[in-house]
Symmetry: C2
Subunit: 209 residues, 2 copies
DNA sequence: GTCTATAGGCAGATAGAC
DNA sequence: GTCTATCTGCCTATAGAC
């Protein structure tokens, strides 16, 4: 069979061109997990969509647990890179928070749940290695947000009660929950509106209308 | 307290005494769904725990879809009764909101996710009838919260920017997301702290410390 | 790296005896 | 209402040819 390894740009929505098989498997598996959950997709689903066999999938990822680990590892890396990019390119705590909420909106764009939010729901039914990785993901998010919130307080561009750590948890919870509920609705603006309300609560008094 | 315990939501972990088999099946199934998700438990799990056979479970609930519908129906009824009890017994919008957050805390007590929050995650992998019921559950919650928020504005006991409907969505999202993330942590206070922060943002200026 | 073929198990579900 | 027995199908996973 002729393998088509064209040079088309690897967009995240038509992800099966111009990448090696392992990456294509991860692309499909990621979408399936984000849509249905880890326990509601199979190797057969992946194989059928890519036009290969289940055995080929096993060649790249020995078992479902290993596939799950690879999935969350890649997702966490991408997310961490996005946070680093915000740190580098976006000045000011309020703008950083807005950029952070946009990361969530991007994930939700195709009715996907946050991969780690989905896995968090299924936590008690997942392999141990995956559970550990989920916890690290949320700790990293909390830590990054805590830093931005501290920066905002120091810059006097953000105003909020309580510890930065607590407010970081409010933001993570609010955004993950908004994704969860938004997927039930037809309106794509659900998450954006909740995010805007959450951030509005962090504005300085002087900025309030 | 407002909680009307005795049947399901936030119920004990040994709910199998003094009830008929159908209710015991629902008790076990509910806990399994809240812990693992709808697609990560089986009739065999239920049968084994109750000391009966899979066939007996099928006698009471013909298929998994029907079981799921019964599950969400009972859960929504219990939740609606709790909201009605708050309306009847708790005066003042701020106290009503605190009582509302306690409903979530009760569910989380045994590391359970909100049944409908869990099903919301699995939305794209569930039977249609269940999907419809989930949407109604969240609409009802939003509507009830909107009413309380309107009351609080009228009473001048709550102060917040934006429409009550938007703020209702912030609260639902924040609490569901907090449950989702809290289950990863050892600390049982995670949800309580997030809930307190959310409600703190609704206090009147005069009430702020 | 991909395939065919298959193992071994568990899933949801049903028939019919008691 | 509960049981035993069974069906059918899908699941994860593996062996071995090409």
């Amino acid at each position: 069979m002729v393998t088509k390894k064209g040079s088309s740009a690897g967009g995240s929505d038509a992800p099966t061109r111009g990448k090696d098989t392992a990456q294509r498997i991860l692309d499909v598996a990621e979408r399936l997990v984000q849509h249905r959950g880890f326990n509601a997709f199979s190797y057969a689903d992946i194989a059928e969509e890519l036009g290969i066999t289940k055995a080929s999938v096993h060649h790249h990822f020995a078992g479902k647990a290993e596939l799950g680990e690879a999935l969350i590892s890649r997702y966490a890396s991408t997310f961490a890179a996005s946070l680093a990019a915000i740190d580098d390119e976006v000045p000011g705590a309020p703008a950083k928070l807005r950029a952070y909420t946009c990361l969530y909106a991007d994930v939700l764009r195709h009715r996907r749940m946050c991969l780690c939010g989905m896995l968090a729901a299924e936590y008690q039914a997942l392999p141990k290695a995956i559970c550990d990785a989920i916890i690290v993901f949320f700790e990293d998010n909390e830590t990054w947000l805590k830093g931005v919130l501290q920066q905002g307080r120091a810059e006097r561009t953000l105003s909020f009660q309580g510890a930065p750590k607590e407010m970081a948890r409010v933001l993570v919870s609010g955004l993950e929950g908004a994704m969860l509920v938004a997927r039930l609705h037809a309106e794509p603006s659900y998450l954006q509106a909740v995010a805007a309300s959450l951030l509005a609560g962090l504005r300085r008094r002087a900025d309030e209308v």
